[in-house]
């Protein structure tokens, strides 16, 4: 019997799944690695810890579930978070930690470039929004502020490229991750000279560019032995978490269906044969395979905002019991009328990306009156997070019409939230409970590579039939009314967001 293993290098850790060839899960395991915030805008991870955790979890799943049942590993397919940057020297040794997508140190660079003509051009060519998350700007930042690292860097890698290089010795980067670096021309699929010039590097400082189906070399001998895998075990370079979540949700190229992810952060995505053009530079366009782009908008404020709310106002009858505290809040929220009796929440606690792209944006409760109670705040918080998701979907629909949605991610798939999404969007929402879209996407990619499916388009329908949440017209009408104010406030408060952001910085207390 053969199996397919997928490895997701995510924001908080690694997830390894083993599937049989039909896509049924044999086993899954996870391993955490830590994000360090050594300075306010910094967000870093230890590359060796990521590598060792990968090795550890992979070894455990093989020893506990795969080898005892005599499965043969047909392939190991990687996917990873986008936008990470790791500098390595000419010995391949990391210089400092890996910088994650959430790192904001390049905010000044981003602001300047975003409002310039060359910035606009780079956005059109590379498909990556001009934002501190983009490796283009992170590398430029290193050039401006960390000459020591800049001068000694032989290559700038993504975390995935580093882990694969440790395992096989090959420096490779796939189209999807590459198209999220801000350095790739997504139309010609080559590194873009103007972007390289802006970052101050040359193309040979980046990993070799390859399609997502590429074999990324052979496992080093020692790893063949410690993992007990044969030398010919196929290591697939794979794709990015965003592209895989979309594929794993059963989205087909050109279909009038959008995929929504609401995990800690979130995104709304569509898949099509062409890129979305946008004067206001609100959307990303990432390359999955030739002539197939995953386009959409990301948000900073998803399930993490409800988690924040729970930490502040949850009961926590048992220490650290986030889950039941959240559950309790959700039950209370369900008993509040649709629209929270006119209490609105702007969820921009972490600044915001799509659609307003305003790093200064902040949160607010609006419309508070004397009759509002604690429970209204709970529901308003959830509604606010989902209004923000809707505002991305709404701007996307200006360019690509959709008639149904597929929803994934730990926060989105809470039934209460799924129903709200259906009502707010006024569209049917497909949800698969206990389903991990990113890993399943990586399974579909591997299976397609093996010839089980003729193409990714053929693979998409293999995704299991979902539960469907149908929109309720009465509720939609209420949400639509409130959303108009939500949208207005989000734009109107721009000046005040900046003013309060500046004051928050001016009077900042050191974090204890």
């Amino acid at each position: 019997m053969e199996c397919i293993i997928t490895i997701e290098l995510g924001t908080n850790g690694i997830r390894v799944f083993a599937y049989d060839l039909r896509g049924c899960i044999i086993a899954s395991m996870k391993g955490h690695y830590t994000t360090f915030h050594t300075q306010p805008d910094h967000s870093e991870q230890d590359p060796e810890q990521i590598f060792i955790t990968t090795l550890y979890v992979l070894k455990n799943i093989l020893n506990e579930h795969i080898h005892p049942k005599k499965y043969k590993v047909a392939s190991i397919c990687f996917c990873a978070s986008m936008h990470s940057v790791l500098a390595v020297d000419n010995h391949g040794n990391p210089i400092g930690n890996a910088i994650t997508w959430a790192d904001n140190r390049a905010k000044k660079e981003a602001q300047e470039l975003r409002h310039s003509l060359p910035g606009k051009k780079l956005y059109e060519i590379t498909g990556t929004p001009i934002h501190p998350m983009s490796p283009l700007l992170k590398i430029a930042w290193i050039g401006h502020h960390d000459a020591e690292r800049f001068n000694h860097t032989s290559k700038y890698l993504s975390i995935k490229s580093y882990v694969i290089q440790q395992l096989t010795g090959e420096y490779m980067i796939d189209y999807s991750i590459a198209s999220a670096t801000g350095l790739l021309n997504i139309h010609t699929v080559r590194w873009e000279d103007d972007a390289l010039a802006y970052a101050g590097i040359s193309a040979d400082q980046l990993a070799t560019l390859v399609p997502v189906f590429t074999r990324a070399g052979t496992l080093k001998k020692a790893y063949q032995q410690s993992l007990r895998l044969p030398a010919d075990t196929k290591i697939l370079i794979g794709s990015s978490d965003g592209c895989m979540a979309t594929l794993g949700d059963g989205i087909k190229k050109g279909e009038q269906k959008a995929s929504i992810t609401i995990e800690d952060s979130g995104a709304v995505r569509v898949m099509g044969p062409t890129v979305l053009k946008d004067e206001q530079m609100r959307f990303f366009n990432y390359l999955l395979v030739d002539n197939c782009y995953v386009s959409g908008g990301p948000t900073n404020n998803g399930g993490n905002i409800f988690e924040w709310f729970t930490k502040q106002f949850g009961e926590f009858t048992n220490p650290f019991d986030m889950e039941s505290s959240m559950q309790q809040l959700l039950e209370e929220a369900a008993n509040v009328p649709t629209g929270s009796d006119g209490l609105l929440f702007l969820p921009y606690l972490l600044g915001e990306r799509a659609p307003i792209w305003n790093a200064n944006a902040r949160g607010a409760y609006f419309g508070l009156n004397i009759k509002h109670e604690r429970r209204h705040f709970i529901r308003a918080t959830i509604e606010g997070i989902l209004y923000e998701i809707y505002s991305i979907g709404k701007t996307l629909s200006e360019q690509r019409s959709t008639n149904s949605l597929s929803l994934n991610g730990s926060f989105g798939t809470i039934p209460f939230c799924s129903q709200l999404v259906a009502d707010i969007f006024s569209k049917p929402v497909e949800v698969r409970q206990h389903f991990h879209s990113v890993s399943y996407g990586a399974y579909l990619l591997s299976a397609t590579e093996m010839g089980i499916y003729a193409s990714l388009d053929d693979a998409a329908p293999a995704v299991d039939a979902p539960d469907i949440f149908k929109p309720t017209a009465v509720h939609h009408a209420i949400y639509a009314d409130y959303f108009r104010i939500f949208e207005k406030l989000s734009n109107k408060l721009s000046d005040e967001f900046e003013a309060i952001g500046n004051l928050q910085q001016k009077y900042a207390h050191p974090i204890k």
Partner: protein, 270 residues
């Protein structure tokens, strides 16, 4: 115990002492500087001054009020404080307490009446000298150290945000990877019992606390092995393995390489 009825010059100059100093405020409001930082103490609060830390008040003048205090002469081991022979704590427990106090190093414990009660009891025992008073004092001093340690970790770690707590712990572990951390010490550092701690670490990280720690140790070891200038034995000890043998076995089990092979291989590929 001190009751200060009137303000007097030079009554409270800044001093540095070898022992651990514990002050419990009974009445009044005091502004004291501990390690050059100003803190305000109200009744019920406890000031905790670690060994070799400057402590006093500005202008050297003590305000009106009263407080009780105790100075404890402690041993020092590997840079951490350790109670003396009088203590009934086991070696491991004493080490854990010393480490937790040292690493958290919080000079103010708020609303901590329990400490005042214990200090008062010690005072009474010492002045009345009833039968077995020495044993009673020893018990009470242990009790005080235990209560202070628990209070400190509970005060510094919320019981809501496990990811944050876990990250703080990892930072502390990485600062002293050479130390032979026990689960009890790790749990104690973040104010948790070992049962809850082990369960939470497992569900959050996917690893048992000890395996997670091994992860960090190996990650750090890999970094050092990639540099040619530190011996494998030194790396083993620096990253907290008992011996180079223990390091070698653990490293090989996970990576398939012995540390020396890993290094040779890595340097050859350059």
């Amino acid at each position: 115990m001190k009751k200060n009825g009137f303000i007097q010059q030079n009554t409270f100059p800044t001093t540095v002492m070898v022992g651990l100093r514990i002050y419990h405020i009974i009445e009044g409001r005091f502004e004291w500087r501990i390690n050059h930082q100003l803190y305000v103490f109200y009744p019920g609060d406890v000031a905790l001054i670690m060994p070799h830390t400057p402590f006093g008040c500005d202008n050297d003048v003590l305000k009106i009020g009263s407080f009780s205090w105790i100075h404890l002469a402690l041993k020092k081991q590997d840079g951490y404080i350790l109670p003396g022979k009088w203590s009934g704590l086991s070696e491991a427990e004493a080490a854990a307490i010393g480490k937790i106090l040292y690493l958290n190093n919080v000079p103010i414990l708020s609303r901590f009446e329990e400490a005042g009660r214990i200090i008062k009891c010690i005072y009474t025992e010492l002045s009345e000298k009833e039968v077995a008073y020495q044993a009673r004092v020893n018990h009470q001093v242990d009790e005080l150290l235990i209560q202070i340690t628990r209070k400190m970790t509970q005060q510094t770690h919320s019981t809501r945000d496990f990811p944050k707590t876990f990250t703080q712990l990892e930072v502390l572990l990485r600062q002293d990877l050479a130390h032979q951390w026990t689960v009890e010490e790790m749990a104690g550092l973040v104010g948790m019992g070992t049962t809850l701690f082990t369960e939470k670490v497992k569900s959050y990280s996917g690893f048992s606390p000890i395996n997670y720690l091994i992860n960090i140790r190996i990650s750090e070891a890999i970094k050092l092995l990639k540099r040619a200038d530190i011996s494998v034995t030194d790396i083993a000890l620096d990253t907290g393995f008992y011996s180079s043998q223990h390091f070698s076995t653990t490293f090989k089990k996970l990576t398939g390489y012995r540390p020396s092979e890993f290094r040779k291989n890595h340097l050859r590929n350059i």
